[in-house]
Symmetry: C2
Subunit: 211 residues, 2 copies
DNA sequence: TTTATCTTTGACCAGCTGGTTAAACCTTAA
DNA sequence: TTAAGGTTTAACCAGCTGGTCAAAGATAAA
């Protein structure tokens, strides 16, 4: 309970890690408690000893994965650097994270859409309105120059993040396309190249907008 | 069997429609045969009479939804019009389809990622390499002008489609952001506005690229 | 060593899930 | 009217799923 033995933490961490893997791969509905127990190499009853139910275990895992997804985005967009640098840094950092966690986007989008109550967790983690206000204050001059009105900021933000996130969600479709192409570039190479392509694309679009 | 009575088709169609709804909403793993039967207002055993198993029923539904997603994209990008017009028409048509089927993107991406064998169906429906070749032949002049090399075409294509598809996949997250904003625009208004935003954005980026 | 507390386990269970089956029902053609 | 074949149903089933529980095992303090 209060006393934290070595073994306690080891076991709980092993369960948590196994649960993360299984939930991320299969999603909540297709995930099986038995499989989590097997991967953690423990008895199934132990799962319920540490995390009362499948739902509670899932929620614990979900919160951590949600933060893994959004904390970096938030911190980058809150930084006090130029908008151009921010875009470049965002793609660099976020694509790196997603290369390490390629299942993250589809997992999060899917669970959120199937269980709207999870959205509450996002409110607290993403803090969108805060981010939006900071961005608009910091970059009012640049955004005006680019002809982005405050009402259009969501359009721009969605565009920016979709260019990084969408390819991971569509990863299997893309892999198929690349095979068919006889393209030797791996998916990861594609995403490495995308860091520059995406930032150049966004900057170019902004600099040449109809005003 | 061969004789097609009225009632046969009506029943089979009712089952198919109900199955489409349930699979699209819940996904394969969380979908329940009983719920499909209830929505079709028939006995559960009838599902197995018309479609032998859950898997077979799912595959039938999946193929139709896959075509709903991709046929329009394919036909637009195969048309003999300028690249700019093609981009505009693509967003107009595809966003219209997705507004009518908002769950389609997440459903397809998710099922494909959880069941790689379904990719075969995409090969036949999407015909990516054919599309890519046609695009590159038709627009070699324009693409050269924009400084898009053949190897970069996938980057451009993924960018274009992600701007239309991603917002639907992230629909619930976006709805939350809009509420928090106190924004009265509905999600559909956002997507209507996105038709112009996206095409202008892509065209602007192309016209101002580093070469 | 003893004792109290925390961990871990095997065995078990109720309820759900996809799927089957035999019988009833309906339609149609002879 | 009747026989045949397709359609629909209620009842049923085996296997899986999340979850429980009593007992055994480990740990550390007294």
């Amino acid at each position: 309970m209060v006393k934290t033995k070595n073994t306690d933490l080891q076991t709980q961490e092993r369960i948590f890690k196994a649960a993360t893997e299984v939930f991320e791969e299969k999603g909540f509905a297709a995930a099986r408690m038995q499989e989590i127990a097997d991967r953690a190499e423990i008895n199934k009853a132990l799962l319920h000893y540490y995390f009362r139910s499948k739902e509670l275990l899932f929620e614990a895992v979900f919160q951590v994965l949600l933060k893994k997804m959004f904390e970096k985005i938030l911190s980058v967009f809150m930084m006090d650097i130029s908008f151009e640098k921010k875009i470049k840094l965002y793609y660099e950092e976020h694509i790196n994270i997603l290369i390490k966690n390629p299942n993250l986007p589809l997992f999060l989008l899917n669970e959120i859409s199937h269980n709207p109550e999870l959205v509450q967790g996002i409110r607290e983690t993403l803090r969108y309105s805060e981010m939006r206000d900071v961005i608009y204050k910091q970059h009012s001059r640049e955004l005006r120059k680019y002809g982005i009105k405050k009402g259009e900021l969501p359009q721009l933000m969605v565009t920016v993040v979709s260019m990084a996130i969408f390819p991971f969600a569509a990863r299997n479709v893309m892999k198929m396309m690349m095979e068919q192409l006889g393209d030797n570039k791996s998916f990861n190479n594609f995403m490495q190249a995308r860091k520059d392509f995406a930032s150049d694309f966004v900057i170019a679009a902004l600099k040449n907008r109809k005003k």
